[in-house]
Symmetry: C2
């Protein structure tokens, strides 16, 4: 049985590789036609999709989920309309394939061009959000990549129904049906097999909780693009406009606490702590945010009779994803930078200051994917960056770092034209 599964997944990946070679040179108009057809099929298939989703929601696995987990899994008419719209939005994006990244001629007359091309076969490993199935398929298709989708067990019927629509759309528009394939089983052996197929799959993108991402990164022999977590800092400098600092801190923390770009950590320069902390703590508390404080910040809040708790060491590197923020007082910009470079997850960190040299130093020395001066960390997002789409955010250093759009789903190749040149 296990050997059968290995063969099933390997043969699926082999078909992906073949489809990828065709898709790599498919014209934009063909890819857009398939996306348009997919959007229409989603619109026309509410009944079937909601039925499949009901099957999932009634399964023992779904019954065991938290309320938030069930909410992530659930589809309804409005969500389906939104799903079709997100596919149509991808049609509107420019096709990244074929972009000329460099074009130069060597003294020997060789013309060398570096062209953007698809990566090839991309594996998406994800959990229970059915929108990932459609979003990733659409972005991979537009960027000329074949993709293999391996979703969660709770969402299997919904994903199967969505994948059937994708196949229909590909077939109807003459693109290889194997360009998007759902792994037709949620057996663990299928996943562990997939992770080792490095001659057929060129890149894995895990999407979900930290444990899933860590499992993929640690067990795969295929290059992985990932981010583990977002432990994002806001640093309020000695020269900060305190009203701006308060607005930014509040936005970074409470506008969407479950997002990876939400602030989890607040650093305040000692010289402004007495003025800043009482006011910002009142507004955070009014938004139900718990402040977990170091001794210095706790003392200030205590003097003003303001509620807070004492931070543990673990709080200073925690990704709360909740209405909680850790607070520390620092003595200098240098201490703030060292603290962030030690304790952050190198995702998104901000300084609030009117002191340009301080800001420049912070922007240069903070070793994170995205660094902000006088703005909320919540802007780390493919749509906010104007990429028109987001396949994820990378905290890796290779290939992609920060928000990833269509171009980050591409590689490049060198195309060289000569007139008989040989090497001396």
């Amino acid at each position: 049985m296990s050997a059968d599964l290995v063969e099933l997944v390997t043969s699926l990946a082999r078909r992906s590789r073949t489809a990828a070679l065709v898709l790599a040179t498919a014209p934009t108009v063909a890819k857009d036609a398939a996306l348009d057809k997919l959007a229409a099929l989603i619109d026309a298939s509410h009944f079937e999709l909601l039925g499949a989703n009901q099957q999932d929601l009634l399964s023992p696995e779904a019954q065991a989920l938290t309320q938030a987990g069930r909410d992530r899994l659930e589809l309804n008419a409005s969500r389906l309309r939104h799903l079709a719209e997100s596919v149509r939005a991808v049609i509107a994006l420019p096709d990244p394939v074929g972009d000329v990244l460099e074009d130069f001629t060597r003294p020997n007359g060789l013309r060398i061009r570096k062209l953007r091309v698809p990566i090839g076969v991309i594996g998406i490993i994800y959990e229970s959000r059915p929108n990932v199935t459609i979003d990733c398929a659409a972005l991979c298709l537009k960027s000329g990549n074949a993709c293999i989708l391996r979703g969660g067990k709770e969402c299997f019927h919904t994903n199967t129904a969505l994948a059937a629509l994708i196949s229909q759309a590909l077939a109807a528009t003459g693109l290889p049906v194997d360009a998007v394939q759902l792994v037709p089983t949620t057996d663990r052996t299928a996943l562990t097999t997939l992770l080792k197929l490095n001659t057929l799959i060129h890149c894995l993108i895990p999407r979900g909780g930290e444990s899933l991402i860590r499992f993929v990164a640690e067990n795969s022999t295929i290059p992985v693009i990932k981010h583990y977590k977002g432990v994002c800092f806001v640093y309020v400098d000695a020269a900060a406009d305190l009203a701006m600092a308060e607005t930014i801190t509040l936005n970074a923390k409470v506008q969407r606490p479950s997002a990876c770009n939400a602030a989890e950590q607040l650093l305040v320069h000692r010289s402004v702590a007495e003025n800043f902390l009482p006011s910002v703590s009142r507004r955070l508390r009014a938004n139900n945010v718990e402040l977990r404080c170091d001794a210095a910040s706790a003392a200030i809040l205590a003097r003003h009779g303001l509620a807070h708790t004492s931070a543990t060491a673990a709080d200073y590197t925690a990704e709360f994803l909740d209405y909680i923020i850790a607070v520390r007082v620092v003595d200098s910009l240098v201490e703030a930078i060292a603290t962030i470079n030690r304790d952050s997850s190198n995702h998104s960190d901000a300084i609030v200051t009117a002191d340009e040299p301080a800001a420049r130093r912070f922007l240069a020395e903070i070793d994170s994917a995205t660094v902000y001066w006088n703005a909320s960390t919540r802007f780390s997002d493919g749509f906010e960056f104007g990429f028109g789409a987001e396949i994820g955010i990378s905290t890796d250093r290779l290939h992609a770092r920060g928000p990833m759009g269509l171009r980050e789903l591409c590689s490049h190749k060198f195309v060289i034209e000569g007139t008989g040149q040989i090497r001396a």
Copy 2:
């Protein structure tokens, strides 16, 4: 003992990470001064370096090497002069750090710049060539990366002596000495520990034989930039200028057969095989090249009484790195493309033809890092591309593909300047 080694390597990597944060913002002039000092130290230390190299050459490990292996390990005055020159050549290269890759302003007024920055800490895992120690250290230093060098057992004394000079050069010019560190043991535990330090080391570059590279790629949890092998093709099309095809085939095969960009495979269109094969085989044979032929090419050579052997299936995907070439006759451009996409290592493949549409199709559809029209595959090289240096050639699709220079040793970060923007 093993726990001690784990601690030793982990603490070494921790110091690298600290040094990397300093080096990331070191000015070009400081990095160039260290390189200049290093070149001078190499020039002034021939006696010590040759002594250390002698120790290695006399070791039982070196005695067990092949003649070629001992040659790779051996230093002499001329090679040392060349080593110092290669360091001076890196000084002349432009510093990639700080390059503005993108600069745009969003409708909300946020200015977003994508800047080139060092990757951070790079681990170089290599075998017995001592020049790798200096070349990699120089390129990592210039690109602002800290590096950890883990060389082969046969070369340990030479590497230790070279690393001492690097430390001296760093100290003399005020850069962190930990920016370049040699793992001070060749114990296997040190290597396996290194491969798992993904929170401290951001990238691994293995350099050496395929088994070393495969070991690193399959056992590391750190992203790896690599190439396994170069199984490069020359395809002689129906419309080829046969004199040009002969010159290119000869150059690609015999100019340096041990290089990864040397041709291992020759495909010839059936319509020109009768004219092309006898002549090219005479010249290849005159250069001691063995032709391993399929039935069709063997029949042609046999009719002309020309020597050849019969290819096995394994020959068609082999990286010979020797005076051997596998030869096949194909019926069409389409068959040539399919054959190459199936059997090549996606490194460097060439078409020789005067038919532009055929060439365009080949260049578009061949899924390799570097594709050539009417030129030798031997040009796949950082120096030949004008990068001024080469840290390796990647056949991966992520981050770097093809020859890698200083820019491929860099990542990027997004630097965002606002005036108090928050997300709605």
